[in-house]
């Protein structure tokens, strides 16, 4: 690559308007916040989805509809509520979380969890009862049965995780409110791709905003491709 003349490499004629460390730090913060939030959300969501999928009890319908409602909950409201929570005056005030990446993760968890739970629940519910019965019949423990079910529903669960990730990384209102869009010495502290795009658009630099938008879309596509690829790799043996 290095032997190629530079002119060939710089095919998009628009000069990239940012220093690379700045853009890299924004990408890193975006990925860190969204990935951490999705990991925590998945760990919390899967047991809930499995428990709900396996059992029936009074109020299950209500609980399911609460989760479904949460899937569409407005992110700015979540941001506002989380900011109240972590503010110096709020219940978590002593942790000094206002305007930190951790506060952003918290608000993204609240946003991603219903999505991951809801979509996983649909996937788990659609697993044939026969699979579970067979696993029980073979003397499997509850954990074994859960693992078998997760394997069967892995495509749906991967979709759930991706939907949660998409919701987290493309969300702007909540992270802006709790994160504060902070940059320190030219590198992002709580600035994500979405809040950077919002800032550029606010100042009328639409071309720059579009470039960052392209980076965001490319990132989402890349993550989706990776996760689906992983799902495929595991899938061959069981089909």
């Amino acid at each position: 690559m290095s032997e190629l003349p530079l002119e060939v490499l710089s095919i998009p004629a628009v000069a990239f308007p940012f220093e690379w460390p700045y853009v890299r730090s924004i990408i890193e913060v975006s990925l860190y916040v969204s990935t951490a939030a999705v990991l925590v959300s998945t760990l919390l969501s899967l047991p809930i989805a499995l428990a709900l999928g396996f059992t029936s009890f009074r109020g299950k319908g209500l609980l399911t509809s609460i989760i479904t409602t949460g899937m569409g909950f407005p992110s700015v409201v979540v941001g506002l509520v989380v900011l109240f929570g972590v503010s110096n005056q709020g219940p978590l005030g002593s942790l000094e979380l206002a305007f930190t990446p951790e506060a952003m993760i918290l608000s993204q968890i609240v946003l991603a969890m219903p999505v991951i739970t809801g979509v996983s629940l649909a996937a788990v519910s659609s697993v044939d009862d026969g699979v579970r019965d067979a696993a029980f019949a073979m003397g499997g423990t509850r954990l074994d049965v859960a693992i078998v079910t997760i394997r069967e529903a892995r495509y749906g669960i991967a979709t759930a995780v991706l939907a949660g990730f998409g919701r987290a990384i493309s969300e702007v209102g909540g992270v802006l409110i709790v994160g504060g869009n902070i940059v320190v010495s030219g590198e992002s502290y709580t600035r994500t791709l979405t809040t950077a795009i919002q800032l550029e658009a606010r100042q009328g630099r639409y071309e720059t905003a579009m470039i960052l938008g392209g980076v965001l879309v490319a990132l989402v596509l890349l993550v989706n491709a990776l996760v689906l690829r992983l799902g495929d790799g595991g899938g061959g043996r069981y089909r």
Partner: protein, 322 residues
């Protein structure tokens, strides 16, 4: 949350003495630096100081000198002060004296200092369809806009600029919110309001700094100048900086906030402000090193009339003149 006026004056006075003595400019701040190194200062400020790039220029030498980190949260003046009221910021830099006074009177802020100024300008489409450029006075220009029902874009976000704009309409005896569809509130930062004005056509009130820093992106011209361009004093735009009261929010980084205020109002900080240009135009004008210091800047306007007989106030004045 009322506080003792005398105690407030004592605190404010000692800061005045420290600031005017220029302890940070004279280089004896090394000891303070050792204590606050590694800490993080959260600054709540307005979009205008952040969008113009001035803060980056100010924060870099401060961070280097004290070994600290500044986290800047940029919002409208009202929101910045609210963040500070909640104790989520250590220091606030804003430009709406009436809102700052309220903040001080309620006891949330201490040691306010005048920092710098620029001015507001009325900008609009370059061909000036309503013909407000002929008016040298703000009232005349605003009346013309209202009479011709030309689009006027308002920030509508309780920012310093929005507060000033509402005051100007009130001075002109017009209630724009009642008068029709030509008055558009965007509820957004200065940059977005300028962009919106550019797209919709019409006029807006802008601070000169943000306008200059965005000039190359938009096709808007100044039609009514502020005092920097020889216009009326009513368009003056003074910025103040206030530390959050550590007696109200004990978690705030008060020492660091005072170091920051000291640095910004020192010779070094003021020179950064004076030397900061965008396309060869100076955006802000330093005010802290005035020939004749205005000691009344430390207290809200409402408290000033009776402050003459205060013993702490007079002792400060004698200290300051040394």
């Amino acid at each position: 949350m009322p506080i003792q006026r005398r105690r407030f004056l004592a605190v404010a006075g000692s800061a005045a003495a420290a600031g005017v003595a220029g302890c940070f400019a004279s280089g004896d701040s090394g000891n303070d630096g050792a204590e606050i190194a590694g800490e993080t200062l959260t600054l709540a400020t307005t979009t205008s100081t952040d969008d113009t790039g001035l803060l980056a220029a100010l924060n870099e030498p401060f961070e280097e000198r004290f070994g600290v980190t500044v986290h800047t949260v940029a919002k409208g003046t009202g929101a910045a002060l609210e963040t500070a009221r909640n104790g989520d910021a250590d220091v606030v830099m804003v430009h709406a004296r009436s809102l700052e006074d309220e903040f001080l009177e309620d006891g949330y802020g201490v040691n306010r200092r005048d920092l710098m100024f620029n001015d507001f300008v009325i900008v609009g489409e370059s061909d000036d369809p309503a013909g407000i450029g002929g008016e040298s006075e703000v009232e005349g220009a605003l009346s013309t806009i209202a009479e011709t029902e030309s689009t006027f874009v308002s920030r509508g976000d309780n920012s310093g600029t929005h507060t000033k704009e509402q005051q100007l309409w009130a001075d002109a005896g017009i209630d724009p919110a009642e008068s029709g569809e030509w008055y558009v509130e965007t509820g957004s930062g200065m940059g977005e309001a300028l962009t919106r004005t550019n797209e919709m056509g019409g006029y807006t009130l802008a601070d000169r700094g943000t306008y200059l820093s965005m000039k190359s992106e938009i096709d808007l011209k100044i039609h009514v100048q502020g005092p920097v361009g020889g216009g009326p004093e009513s368009l003056m735009n003074p910025y103040g900086i206030v530390a959050v009261n550590p007696a109200v929010h004990e978690n705030v980084a008060y020492d660091l906030a005072m170091a920051y205020i000291g640095f910004l109002t020192s010779l070094e900080g003021q020179e950064v402000i004076e030397g900061y240009t965008v396309s060869d135009e100076q955006l802000f004008f330093p005010e802290a090193l005035a020939e004749e210091p205005n000691f009344e800047q430390y207290v809200p306007t409402a408290w000033r009339s009776s402050s003459d007989d205060s013993p702490s106030g007079s002792s400060n004045e004698s200290t300051d003149q040394e």
